[in-house]
């Protein structure tokens, strides 16, 4: 028998009446197996105040793979939301680092504040396993050099974007930037303390942001 179901029982594959094979993306399996997680903020939580200037050691948000496991951390979705625009142009950058031990100075991320709103996307009772990746806000990073990481996106946002930027709902100008990593080239696979870092800076440090992130925690066998 060429196929088996999740209980290892031999079974035939499903086709339509016109004999097309009906498929299910592996992402659904990951979700059902409790391998996809999210982190962010509650309804009334305060936003994070940004930095006055770009500095590699001052980070707004992070997602970091655990150092001592064979888990693969795959960022799936990231939303950065400007909730207070301050009085100056705002810049945001999304970085992906090497594994911690391969950085010129071993990468160490120091809280900061751990994000408290963390969940498995498959909401069950009793709940699924806890996430192993670390999510932080307003954190400090050890110093990094250019070869340690890469800027995946460097965005500039006009002064007073929430008023003069004509932000609205839908697909036009917005206060929210969304990264859909599964639909934008290839997603990053992070292991061994590698991290995704968000930096936000504005000459007026009153700019403030919140974030929402989603990621998978899988093993090599899940992917190939």
């Amino acid at each position: 028998m060429s196929f088996k179901d999740r209980n290892n029982v031999p079974e035939v594959a499903r086709v339509t009446k016109a004999r097309d094979v009906i498929t299910s993306p592996n992402l659904w399996r990951w979700v059902m197996e409790g391998k996809v997680f999210e982190a962010g903020y509650g309804l009334e939580d305060s936003a994070i105040t940004c930095e006055g200037a770009v500095d590699d050691v001052n980070v707004a948000y992070s997602l970091q793979a655990p150092a001592g496991t064979d888990l693969l951390i795959i960022p799936i979705l990231l939303k950065i939301c400007i909730t207070d625009d301050g009085g100056q142009l705002t810049t945001f950058q999304l970085m992906f680092t090497k594994p911690a031990g391969l950085c010129a100075t071993t990468l160490v991320l120091t809280p900061g504040t751990a994000l408290t709103s963390k969940h498995c996307l498959y909401q069950t009772n009793p709940k699924k396993a806890e996430q192993k990746a670390t999510t932080l806000s307003a954190l400090t990073s050890s110093a990094l050099v250019a070869a340690d990481y890469v800027s995946y996106h460097r965005g500039h946002v006009i002064t007073n974007v929430l008023t003069s930027g004509l932000v609205a709902m839908g697909e036009g100008p917005s206060n929210v930037h969304t990264f859909r990593f599964l639909k934008e080239g290839a997603p990053h696979i992070m292991t061994s303390g590698a991290a995704m870092l968000v930096h936000v800076n504005s000459a007026d440090t009153d700019s403030a942001t919140t974030c929402y992130m989603q990621w998978a925690e899988v093993t090599e066998d899940d992917l190939y």
Partner: protein
Amino acid sequence: MPDFKDRNNVIDAGGLTGERDVITTPNLYRWLMEGKIFEAGYGLEDSAVDGEGSATVDDTTATFSLQAPASSSLLVIPLLLKLGIVSEGGAVAFFQLMFTKPAGLCATALTLSGTALTSKHCVYRTNPAQTAQQATTLSTVTVSSFASAAADFVSYHRGVLADNTLTTLLPSMGSGPSNTHVFNFLEDGAPHIMTSGAAMLFYGYNAGGDTSFIAYMQWAEVTEDDLH
């Protein structure tokens, strides 16, 4: 002959849901896990690269390049390119993205020289690191002259940006006006497959001379067997 084998060449069954739908994994994940996808760009505090200070484009001075190695069987497939304007200059800015023929098929064999991008990584982050990329990524690129330019390459995109784009165009978050242009090649028609010194070239230019750009690029290095 069994129908399926895993990566260790062990016979195995395909996976089904409880309703017998076949569970599928895109080949892109296999390429990732085999260390075949790479990226290059800039660090957090790196300076941007000036485009050409001219209203007239010159094919011998490109801002960024990605080039397939000349003498291997590798197929280099651009997956993603992000171009960010960091300084807007003082006039209307232009940018063009070109794909060339293989180096030896250009009227004058294509050669590139410039500054190597230093922030280069395999997208699968492991310790020890995966094998390094073989494609070449450069900035401030000097390009050999295209003797019969139009036949040697094609302009994939020709963009024009209003003067003072970082202010008067109201760049914001989301999918509205932005300082960043994203080429998502897997979602934008069919991707190019570059071999034998073929190159992707980006040209940014502005009569004001001050427009500067940063780039992030992602590509796959695969073989014919990976594709068909």
